[in-house]
Amino acid sequence: MKNICIILSLTLISGQALFSQKYFTRAGKVTFTSEAPLEKIEAANEKATSVLDAASGKMEFAVLIKAFQFEKALMQEHFNENYMESSTFPKAVFKGQIVNPSAVDFSKDGIYEVKVAGDMTIHGVTKTIEVPGKIRIERGEISASSVFELTVADFNIKIPAVVRENIAKTVAVSIDLNYELLKS
């Protein structure tokens, strides 16, 4: 009886370990583009961190705002100083969940269309979003990508009248993450 109990428990633990395989990256790529009548602004950040829990479909990512690189130094300064206030709000964080985790077979190669929903926190404001994404599995390697739009005003970021023609009200965000297995 004792043995059965132990075996049962062990099975439970190992089972859990098997299904709760987690993947991570520290070099996720996040870019955004603002297309306004007078100016096109692009910035890229290649230091996003993310963890994906394959079993539950939960995913999180965090982006350091100051790590966004612009082609013009002054844009970068204004982005941090005037718009994102990155000294006060250093990170953008997303905590969410793949809405249809059953659509993804992590053990089989392929490209799976998913929907991800969760809370996006930018500039200290949290907003629930749902965005489409793709999970690609190739020889056990997992990568995820998504393209979606965010409305600047939703995150309490004000665009003054003088630069209304230079900064778009919505920006296109694109995310590319190449996951590695998280060994715990």
Binding site: M1, K2, C5, I6, L8, S9, L12, I13, Q16, S20, K22, F24, R26, T49, S50, V51, L52, D53, S56, K58, M59, E60, F61, A62, K66, Q69, F70, E71, K72, A73, L74, Q76, E77, H78, N80, E81, N82, S87, T88, V93, K95, P160, V162, V163, N166, L182, S184
Partner: protein, 292 residues
Amino acid sequence: MYRSALLLWLLCAVSALNAQDDLLSLLGDEEETTEYATAAFKTNRVINLHSLENTAAGVLDFKISHRFGMLNRGAYELFGLDAATIRIGGDYGITDRLMIGIGRSSFEKTYDGFVKFKLLRQSVGKRKMPVTAAIFASTAIQTLRWQNPDRENYFRSRLYYTFQLILGRKFSENISLQLSPTLVHRNLVEVASEANDVLALGGAGRIKLSKRIALNLEYIYVLPDQLAPGFGNSLSLGFDIETGGHVFQLHLTNSTSMIEKGFVTQNSGKWGDGGIHFGFNVSRVFTLKRQK
């Protein structure tokens, strides 16, 4: 026995619960990076003085600086608006720490060139540095016609040199302060009571009033017995207004000249007598070399 199994099962359940909690914390602490303080001042000048900031690498900052006449000229000259002194110049960032600039002032028809290098940069994180320090050196060439062309005149009599240490700190998002010990060397002075080497201490600060507007104040104290009679210390008060690529600096100052050699040693205006100029600097940046 049954209990121990239950305990194990509970343990599993608890660990499973924990796993749901915060996925990112599984990654542990992030690698610490060095974070440099940025934008202690909105542009590389406070008002007349050079600020803690440099023009970024690959960026040309085109500057038009303008001082109207003195307010005490009265209504006949529309309180100084009829007269104008101007400096047109360009500053360029060779690297984020090294900047050069040239300019031409209408005041005494003077050309100037300078080099400014950041020795230390205020930072937190991996590398901690409480202050920013920069060195600044400039040469000015006055090109007025010789007052007395009949005597032998030397080109070197037209030359002026300035050396300055700029030391300061961005104390908070809104408050930055700096000290600027300065030495101005004049090859030729008019009267014997004037020193060839003038030592001065500048102090400047800014308070941000909003994201795009800042209030600046600067004062330059010249150590006694170095200037010709009638010349005094420089005091300036102004606002920075930033709109995307431009910074407009509007100010009141008793200095007529906009370069060190002038605003440290040649201030005839006195605030108490209305000997002050309304003036502005307009800075427009052009990115000549894009960042990667």
